[in-house]
């Protein structure tokens, strides 16, 4: 396992190198250069030259890259002139709020998705299975922003049960202090995930139900409850653990569509706004962080796989 982790770390460094080089290169592909995009149509050539020098864009690419990586290694993700704030402080401010949204959405979706997935597998091809399958397909097929807009229309505009946008506080405490405003964004995010968990769980449980160990357990007189929850359930969770690991980047990158629809002040909204405003420092910082999250999430998923399934051994 140690050797495996060392190899994965080496791969991660290569991935990070490729991503950082290509991300910084992409910034230079802004038409007219990143500074012109930042300053807008009123910028004169002299002003563009001044800010190119100020930001170091007049230096060779490799010098810019080395300087940037050096800053990153010291925890300096850059400074957003658009927001007048360091990217690190922006992350520190928005990441916990995204964790709240994604965390609550994940817990709620797992709470419903896993047991209902098991139910569908056990009662497959019954009316209940068909209804829940229909709901899951709806969750899969409907874009998140559309679900959000529908919920806003039904529950905010038509009935005014919930507010149309998320709490606007800058702290987690402030966000949690207004739970009514959290309901719609959390439910929107959870709906898609519910579809994911329930479908995976259903198919995973169905796969396991025909395995030899299930037949053996039943032959040994184990109750159906014990077969399902004692044997099949644990083995079926393997695929869910993998998916949970792959979900880690979402914690960092944010649930962009949900955050945009509900004006939720998290990482996704910050990334979206940065893209609109050509705030390249935020785009760079968030991309690096999201890449890290992907690498770590994949590694954690692999490790979780090994823990849950004794047949899996990494050498």
């Amino acid at each position: 396992m140690v050797g495996y982790l060392i190899r994965r770390t080496g791969q991660a460094i290569i991935v990070l190198f490729i991503v950082t080089v290509s991300t910084l290169a992409l910034v230079h592909l802004f038409p007219g250069g990143p500074v012109h995009a930042l300053l807008g149509p009123r910028a004169t050539p002299q002003q563009i030259a001044y800010y190119n020098q100020l930001y170091g864009f007049d230096k060779p690419f490799y010098e810019q890259y080395i300087k940037w990586i050096g800053q990153l290694l010291h925890g300096n993700f850059g400074f957003s002139d658009k927001l007048n704030q360091s990217v690190a402080s922006l992350i520190a401010q928005d990441l916990p709020k995204t964790v709240i949204l994604v965390g609550l959405g994940t817990v709620i979706s797992l709470t419903f998705g896993i047991p209902l997935g098991v139910y569908q597998a056990v009662r497959r091809y019954t009316l209940g299975d068909y209804v829940l399958t229909g709901i899951s397909f709806l969750g899969y097929a409907t874009p998140t922003f559309f679900v959000g807009l529908l919920l806003v229309d039904w529950f905010a505009v038509q009935t005014r049960i919930f507010p149309p946008f998320a709490p606007q506080a800058s702290t987690v405490a402030g966000i949690l202090a207004n739970p009514r405003a959290l309901v719609l964004p959390v439910f929107t995010y959870a709906f898609l995930l519910y579809a994911l968990w329930s479908r995976y769980m259903r198919s995973s449980v169905m796969d396991n139900l025909v395995q030899d160990y299930v037949r053996t357990a039943r032959a040994k007189g184990a109750s159906e409850r014990r077969v399902i929850w004692g044997h099949v359930f644990r083995n079926s969770l393997v695929s869910i653990v993998t998916l949970l690991g792959l979900l880690l980047p979402t914690l960092v990158a944010g649930a962009i569509f949900t955050e945009v629809v509900f004006n939720y002040p998290g990482m996704g909204l910050a990334f979206y706004t940065a893209a609109l405003n050509v705030d390249y420092q935020v785009l760079l910082g968030f991309t690096v962080l999201a890449t890290l999250a992907v690498v770590i999430g994949n590694t954690l998923a692999d490790i979780g796989y090994a823990i849950l399934d004794p047949r899996v051994r990494y050498s």
Binding site: P41, P45, A156, P265
Partner: protein
């Protein structure tokens, strides 16, 4: 002469200052009820806009109209305010902390007298505060968004306080009182001595910038700048800072977060009039207009912009639609930004530039721009024709008569027939549906026999109405035999190409079309020096004309409106840009909120005039 100069600017102010009402309140608003003091007004910020820089000495990379006019101005009054609680685009002396400037010595000297207002910490807003700004400007001009080489502060030879409330400036030449007031003095903001420091605990004025000189290369001002610039980065302390809490405007920031949520409360020490009646105003950020509209529909907002797509068709003769989709809870009003819309032909493109340099071709290009049709059919009434580089609607003192001709289309109204005739009379023949030069002597210099009148427009996508306007232009141009290819890009991609280029292999774009230009800072007189003067930084198409240069320069030195109109007339006739319809924005204001105007063309907002009714 001194009196004449000042009178010129005063006359302008009087000419367009009006109290007031917005251009078109709909009938759906409730009649005013009993005035109720206090209350909070919640205002939607425009999509993806956040106000992030509190210091009026704002650098270009952080400058924003909303930040300056709708936030900073509420706290820190510029030396001269512009706009009013209505539709005026003129200087507003009653709301400014200084008396009208007095020009003397033929326009080479300007004297400014402060009114002696008070800062919120008890200091007087006096001559030292203006000197502090001027010294900072001298020391750090490259870091101020409004700086242009050769203009302020370079054109101010010397300045000094001739009394506690009076500053005298000696200029490097005689200037127009209008131009100098509107485009130079307009950039200045007095700064309190509490800011002339290099640490939070330092005594007011101890930074020494106010008394600094060029002799030490403005070292003290540089140190103060470094300190204040660092303080601007401490955004989390904006609402509590001992520095930024010193204000002379009617409002101060009481809560701030970098998501864009800002709360402002009245400054009880405000010296001007009227005093705020509301208890607070709140700015809330939004990602797009549809979210703003939802918030309006659910009553979460008191003021917000309504997306055009959610509005019914509007007759061109009315400012707002007859039917208010938000019902009686809101009053609608229209904002026509103080600017103009256009596309830029590239005179330095080696292939198409020679064609664009011909006035008759630019005239034909203007004639196939169906401004009335686009405004009615594509913009559904939420745009107005504008035939020049000066804003024409609402009517203001700057608009020349020629621009108002043909229902504001200017001298070259939409006519495909006239465009065709103009081209054929200059040696072009319709061949296979495309105008082709068959008589180079008539076509003009640099246009070869057999050359087609064809070019590509690189335009900014993002708004359906805008995309359709471009597509319609292509179609109308084709009817006149002008072959237009259109290529779409993001706004930033199009703007990224807009730096003027020299003829050569890299100067390949034909036409850029991204939208509009606003005259609401830096500078409030709609002059042409940044746009049409030879070699100007924002002269994207590299237009060059010696008469245009002369006329622009004349607006800098003459205070006569006739001289300004000469320039504006020439700009309408010569078409350095091709003029396109100007879009109208519709805002909804809670019907119980009275006197609340959010549609000043300069974006000026004055919540101290607003009040709630029962």
């Amino acid at each position: 002469m001194a009196v004449l100069g000042a009178a010129g600017a005063l006359a302008l102010a009087a000419c367009s200052s009006s109290g007031g009402s917005s251009p078109g309140a709909s009938a759906s608003g409730s009649p005013p009820g009993t005035r109720v003091p206090g209350g909070t007004v919640t205002i939607a910020l425009p999509p993806s806009v956040t106000d992030t820089f509190i210091w009026p000495f704002i650098p270009l990379d952080q400058s924003s109209t909303y930040d300056t006019i709708q936030w900073q101005w509420l706290m820190y009054r510029p030396l001269y305010m512009f706009g009013d609680n209505g539709q005026s685009v003129a200087v507003n002396y009653p709301l400014s902390p200084a008396q009208a400037p007095v020009y003397s010595d033929g326009g080479k000297t300007v004297t400014i007298t402060m009114k002696g207002w008070k800062w919120s910490n008890g200091e007087t807003v006096n001559a030292s505060d203006l000197i502090f700004w001027l010294n900072m400007f001298k020391a750090e001009k490259a870091n101020f968004y409004g700086y242009s080489p050769g203009l302020a502060p370079d054109n101010i030879l010397s300045y000094s306080a001739s009394g506690p409330n009076t500053v005298v400036m000696h200029l490097n030449q005689a200037y127009s009182s209008i131009w100098f007031t509107y485009n130079q003095l307009a950039e200045f903001t007095p700064m309190p001595m509490a800011w002339d420091v290099t640490s939070l605990s330092a005594k007011a004025g101890s930074g020494g910038c106010t008394t600094d000189t060029a002799a030490d290369k403005w070292a003290k001002c540089v140190a103060v700048y470094s300190f204040l610039a660092a303080q601007t980065k401490a955004t989390s302390s904006y609402a509590t800072s001992a520095i930024w809490g010193v204000v002379d405007g009617p409002w101060k920031t009481s809560a701030y977060n970098t998501n864009g949520n800002i709360t402002m409360v009245p400054n009880p020490a405000y010296s001007g009039s009227p005093k705020p009646s509301l208890a607070s105003i709140k700015f809330v950020p939004f990602t797009d207009l549809s979210a703003t509209y939802t918030a309006l529909k659910t009553g979460q907002l008191d003021i917000g912009r309504v997306p055009t797509a959610d509005l019914p068709q509007k007759p061109l003769s009315q400012n707002v639609p007859s039917v208010n989709p938000l019902g009686s809870g809101y009053t609608l009003s229209a904002q026509i930004p103080f600017g103009y819309s256009y596309y830029v032909p590239n005179m330095n493109n080696q292939k198409t530039g020679p064609m664009f340099k011909q006035l008759y071709i630019r005239q034909a290009l203007q004639m196939v721009m169906d401004q009335p049709g686009d405004s009615t059919a594509i913009w559904r009434g939420y745009a107005v024709p504008n035939g020049g580089a000066v804003p024409g609607t609402p009517v203001n003192q700057w608009t020349p008569q020629v621009q108002q001709a043909n229902q504001n289309q200017g001298p070259y109204p939409f006519s495909i027939t006239n465009a065709k005739n103009l081209l054929t009379s200059h040696g072009w023949t319709l061949t296979n549906g495309v105008m082709t030069c068959t008589d180079p002597a008539k076509c003009g210099a640099g246009i070869a026999q057999g050359q087609q009148l064809a070019f590509t427009i690189f335009y900014a996508t993002g708004q359906t109405e805008f995309n359709n306007t471009v597509a319609n232009y292509k179609s109308d141009a084709a009817q006149a035999g002008i072959k237009v290819n259109i290529t779409a890009g993001t706004f930033n991609a199009v703007v990224g190409e807009s730096t003027p280029c020299k003829p050569g292999p890299k100067c390949t774009w034909d036409v850029l079309w991204w939208g509009s230009w606003g005259y609401n800072g830096p500078g409030f007189e709609p002059t042409g020096e940044p746009l049409f003067q030879t070699g100007a930084g924002s002269n994207s198409g590299s237009y060059s004309d010696s008469k245009m240069d002369q006329l622009i320069n004349a607006t800098h030195t003459s205070s006569s409106m006739a001289v300004f109109h000469d320039y504006a007339t020439y700009a309408a006739q010569q078409l350095p840009n091709i003029y396109t319809p100007v879009s109208i924005r519709i805002y909804a204001v809670n019907s119980k909120l009275q006197n609340a105007v959010f549609t000043n063309p300069l974006y000026t907002i004055l919540p101290e005039y607003w009040y709630w009714t029962k």
